[in-house]
Amino acid sequence: MTHAADPAGVPDAAEFALAVRGEAAAWDRSGTLPEQVRKAVARAGLLGIGLPERYGGSGGGPAELGEVCAEIGGVCSALRGLLTVQEMVAAALLRWGTAAQRAQWLPQLARGDRFAAFAATEAGAGTDLAGVQTRIDEDGDHLVVTGRKLWITFGRTAEVFLVLGRTAGRPSAVLVEGDRAGVHRKPVEGQLGMRAAEIAHVDFDTVRVPRDHLVGPPGIGLTHVVGTALDHGRYTVAWGCVGMAEACLDTAADHAVHRLQRGVALAEHQLVRAELARAAVQAGAARELCARAGRLRGQGDPSAVTETVVAKYAAAGAATAVAGAAVQTLGAAGIAPDSLAGRFFRDAKVMELIEGSQFVSELHIGDRLLRRHGYRPAPAERTRTVIQEGPR
């Protein structure tokens, strides 16, 4: 694996990843990420890579953030997920929060004084988040949050949630501390992948929070606040997938070189070489697309939004394909309990679903391509309504 010389946080991430590499399988098996590990991630300074130093972050750019996610993602998707949700909430606050909100919350997120979760999905609102029904009602100096959120990564342990809902019908986003009265968590166990990601369904039962917990005015909660969070989520997930693909490729190649069948190394078989060659190209292409997205993000180029979708789509697909190739090459070792390739084989499918499924990504990428060639899409009525409402 290669990365730029001494970028912010990357050596720390590499060292941390190496130190915990042997523990990840046990976390997956137990379905939990121990608190001491979460605290250790914070002490290693890996939670605020993308935050400016004035907020306690490392001041890293997109390239550094990406490499850190690749390092951690190459060891444990759940652990990378911890970084992702923290970055998503921090990015939304950094971009759309008030000065007071940034000053209050960002240093806590960077230090890991509070672990965050992103609560958007509902039973009737997954891909189509415009359909959320959670209410964020105004009540004097307070807001009252009522709704049920599903599949919340680190929902079991989060100390603050960024919740998407509606205020007087307008999309809005609000911060809710996890210890507020009315916050109830139901752990999700035994899901296909990301088993150590402390996933939960979370009920917000008339939870009262101060009005200053609202992030951005009602009207921009989905398109901008949650949109920014999801954009960062896609970027970090994409790089995590690069780490997964590269780790699987390394494992499979080592096995192919050293595993003998009838006195001949697997590497001598052309079919095995072809499998590994395809995997190497897929992993390499994913890395380059992620790097391109990172460069565009660093440049403030508007095409970075779509190029991040491209990167995430490619990287999730690469992780799935390379993990599959690794399991195939490893044989029984690939399906054995605690196999890294086997674990990533399960995790990779999750990557193809979260932060925009592969189907949705294809629709968006195809739409942007065709628009450049004069295609006029059908009006996006729901989105238009959301945008036109605007803030008040």
Binding site: W96, G97, T98, A130, G216, P217, G219, I220, L222, T223, H224, G227, T228, D231, G298, Q299, G300, D301, P302, S303, A304, V305, T306, V309, H364, D367, L370, R371, R372, G374, Y375, R376, P377, A378, P379, A380, E381, T383, R384, V386, I387, Q388, E389, G390, P391
Partner: protein, 86 residues
């Protein structure tokens, strides 16, 4: 962040909108009314305005009137002291 072009004209804004929306719009056309703007376009538009005019769009700036037409975008950028608005 690399340097933005020295000046940004309404034609530059229109070129961005045409590429992003897949259709030509005029300086005073309300392109949101076309229904062609999707959720990711909202982020692309903010990023474009910030990059080209070298300014920061705050949450309170996101009133639709500031972004409803290319002419409104130019007026917003000039009011905010956008370095490259002309």
């Amino acid at each position: 962040m690399p340097t933005a072009p020295a000046t940004t004209t309404v034609e530059d804004v229109l070129a961005f909108l045409a590429a992003a929306l897949g259709t030509e719009v005029g300086p005073d056309d309300d392109y949101f009314a076309t229904g062609l703007a999707d959720s990711l376009f909202a982020l692309e538009l903010v990023t474009f305005v910030e990059h080209r005019f070298q300014l920061t769009v705050e949450a309170e700036d996101l009133a639709l009137d500031n972004f409803r037409t290319a002419a409104h975008i130019m007026a917003f950028a000039q009011a905010r002291g956008g370095a490259a608005a002309s």
